[in-house]
């Protein structure tokens, strides 16, 4: 028995150098995109939340703690988006290096300017995030800024590859700059969108597309009949745009509003698929742009 354990240990020890990549744990797939794009071969990336789950409603789980236990860098969206589960998962992961305030903890929302900050946060306003709207992931320009900051952080963990990190982050930023005018042009003079939750605002601001309303009466509060009635009345008075929901959002209230107003609907994920890289991320933005542009 001891011999088996010993040999197992030796095998693991021998395998260790081969795995000497910086282990990055990303809370969402968008964050994982940045880690892969900037980190390249120097990092191995795992994700805590798949894109078909609402990150607001997750629960701290042993599988998260296992990933966090071995992580060198935790890449979170931040601004309290993950407040319902990440602190508990971190507390039980027994990995001091990735706690907030340490080099191994990186928050995307802290690298960019946030909108929707509340001087006075009151839960009567719904599930608001006092620090500002944390959903920075769909804004490619903010993501490019996060990529630069991430490159600087990865450089600290792995100084030898600093130049490569910086170059890749820059490359991502250039891609964004190259694509942005095309996106903006396609959706210019769009009549607007209706969102389910207040989580696509940064992208709409970037694209110059007005948001005409939300399915949720207040952030985190399920759609009510009276709110939908008001929304329908409001939308009828406008030229028809598109209602965007994420696949995990309930379909029925969206359909109800669409049927009553003639607005189109689109189901688009908030984050790209598991294992996505920069191309898949841009494809997701393309999909939003296409949905807003419709068949005009």
């Amino acid at each position: 028995m001891i011999r088996i354990l010993l040999s197992l240990f030796l095998v693991l020890a021998a395998a260790a150098p081969a795995l000497a990549q910086t282990r990055v744990v990303a809370t969402t797939t968008s964050m994982a995109v940045l880690a892969r794009t900037v980190g390249g071969d120097a990092v191995s990336v795992t994700t805590l939340a798949p894109p078909d789950r609402d990150v607001h409603y997750l629960q701290a789980k042993p599988s998260m703690m296992r990933r966090l236990r071995r992580a060198d860098l935790l890449l979170a969206v931040g601004a309290e988006l993950e407040v319902g589960w990440l602190p508990a998962a971190l507390r039980n992961a027994a990995n001091p290096g990735i706690r907030p305030g340490h080099q191994g903890y990186f928050e995307a929302a802290a690298q960019v300017e946030l909108t929707g900050t509340y001087q006075r946060a009151d839960r009567a306003m719904g599930d608001v995030h006092p620090a500002g709207d944390p959903h920075v992931n769909l804004d490619p320009v903010r993501m490019a800024r996060v990529a630069e900051a991430l490159a600087a952080r990865l450089a600290k963990l792995e100084p030898a590859a600093a130049e490569a990190f910086r170059r890749r982050a820059e490359g991502f930023g250039k891609q964004v700059q190259k694509r942005l005018p095309g996106w903006q042009e396609r959706v210019a003079d769009s009549p607007g969108v209706v969102a389910f939750h207040k989580d696509i605002n940064y992208l709409m601001d970037r694209l110059g597309v007005p948001i005409r309303g939300y399915l949720e009466p207040k952030p985190g509060i399920a759609p009510s009949a009276s709110h939908l009635k008001r929304l329908i009345a409001d939308l009828k008075a406008r030229p028809a745009g598109v209602i965007i929901r994420h696949p995990y959002h309930p379909r029925d209230p969206v359909r109800k509003v669409a049927d009553a107003t003639g607005w189109r609907t689109a189901a688009l994920p908030l984050d790209p698929e598991l294992g996505a890289g920069a191309e898949a991320y841009f494809a997701l933005i393309d999909a939003y742009v296409a949905a807003i542009a419709g068949d005009r």
Binding site: Y57, K61, S63, R69, A88, R91, A110, L114
Partner: protein, 441 residues
């Protein structure tokens, strides 16, 4: 009253101090040019976090209000033989306020986090549920917790009232660990190794001041019942720690939708003492030990507001009291005789999100698959009956912070005079204010 005023005053002081503390959080980014370690917070900015949890119930039963007393008196190794049934106040028909929970937590410094969980009862009394610190920076996956805390054994044990899925404590916990579960003062060491799948191991050394497992009737109970010379001999327990636990948990990798955690645990109280008054005054001393296993399965559905989510948990507990007669003036020859008590029990509970913000729950708990007292010298055994309880509830959770719940419980309880039943009806609210730390799995 003064104490409450003090606590509330302190709490208000902490709220007022919150933002100022937040501002002094390290903003490493300023020094390192963009590569910021600063955070817009993932839960640690308001330093300390403070929350207040309100819980109240409306209650009715079919036994004129003594249903809880019946359940507490279920025949078993901690109930039989004429000592009181734990002395826990039962539910009164009508409205009642459950203890209001006050939770404060913060990082103390780079090395320690601290948690205080106090409750204020309806009558105005206070109780310290938990007050402990944990280490932040130990290497190799080690973590120390010390102070007064709910033991890490099992699954249900370290959950506070507001996390309980049902109004009442699980039947096996209530009978074999006590109404609050295992809670004591001491130290815990856990180890979370960097294994390919999740594992966690822990050991605890606790003082032993616990009402069931660490029961030690001691001087206050003996005084006036037995002669002064005996009070001296049996009045005080040995020096602590007298209560020890060990637990292990493991969770295989099942992907993002499924989560399974299994655990085993053991509890050992080295110094257990009971004063019995039936038929004659006598004292039993010895050890209490308990072993158990806990299982949790959770399914996370790709829908919002909890729709489709499923969670099932089950635990089995087996307890043994290995005692001997230490004192019995009515029957001196029995002194030194073994009295071995064994009892086990389990519960299975589940909840399912059948609609957005709505979930239904069910629980079955029972004790007494084994339920007996063996008398050493003669080898004869006295068997107690089995007791069961079935509960069902319906919960509405409009937000993270509110829970409104209706529950029905049906109990079939073995008593000294046969089997009796009780039906109980609860309407319960749980509201949480302030900044409450995220819950563990």
């Amino acid at each position: 009253m003064q104490r409450i005023a003090f606590v509330l005053g302190a709490a208000l002081g902490l709220i007022a101090g919150g933002p100022a503390w937040g501002q002094s959080a390290p903003h490493l980014g300023a020094a390192s040019g963009g590569a910021s370690s600063a955070e817009v917070t993932s839960g640690n900015r308001f330093n300390p976090d403070l929350s207040v949890i309100l819980e109240g119930i409306a209650y009715a039963d079919d036994r004129s209000g003594d249903a809880d007393a019946l359940v507490a008196a279920a025949a078993g190794i901690n109930q039989a033989h004429g000592h009181d049934a734990g002395g826990h106040a039962g539910e009164e028909p009508g409205f009642s306020l459950k203890p209001t929970e006050l939770a404060v937590s913060a990082s103390v410094d780079p090395y320690f986090d601290a948690f205080v969980h106090a409750v204020i009862t309806e009558a105005g009394g206070m109780d310290l549920e938990e007050a402990y610190f944990t280490t932040r920076a130990l290497p190799a996956g080690l973590q120390v917790k010390a102070g007064r805390f709910l033991s890490g054994i099992g699954y249900h044990n370290d959950k506070h009232r507001h996390q309980w899925q049902f109004v009442e404590q699980t039947l096996p916990y209530q009978q074999l660990l006590g109404a609050h579960g295992l809670r004591d003062t001491g130290v815990q060491l856990t180890w979370t190794p960097a294994t390919p799948f999740y594992t966690r191991f822990g050991v605890e050394a606790l003082q032993g001041d616990q009402e069931v497992v660490g029961r030690f009737d001691g001087e206050s109970a003996l005084d006036g019942v037995v002669p002064a010379s005996v009070v001296d001999r049996y009045g005080d327990p040995k020096a602590g720690p007298r209560l020890f636990t060990a637990f292990a948990k493991a969770a295989p990798n099942l992907g993002y939708s499924h989560e399974l955690q299994a655990g085993v645990f053991g509890v050992y109280a080295s110094d257990h003492q009971e004063l019995h008054t039936d038929p004659d005054d006598h004292i039993l001393t010895g050890q209490y030990w308990l072993a158990g296993t806990d299982w949790v399965y959770a399914y996370d559905a790709p829908h919002q507001y909890g729709r489709g989510d499923l969670k099932i948990s089950a635990e089995y507990l087996y307890a043994v009291k290995d005692l001997e007669v230490a004192y019995n003036p009515a029957q001196p020859p029995t002194v030194g005789d073994d009295r071995t008590f064994r009892e086990d029990g389990f519960y299975v509970q589940g909840r399912y999100g059948f609609a957005a913000n709505w979930r239904a729950g069910a629980r079955y708990g029972m004790v007494g698959l084994t339920n007996q007292k063996a008398v050493g010298a003669t080898g004869s055994a006295e068997h107690y009956g089995r007791s069961h309880r079935v509960s069902a509830n319906l919960t509405w959770t409009p937000t993270h912070f509110t829970r409104i719940q209706a529950q029905w419980s049906h109990s079939r309880i073995a008593t000294g005079s046969g089997r009796e039943t009780a039906d109980q009806y609860f309407l319960r609210y749980i509201l949480s204010m302030g900044k409450h730390g995220a819950h563990d799995f």
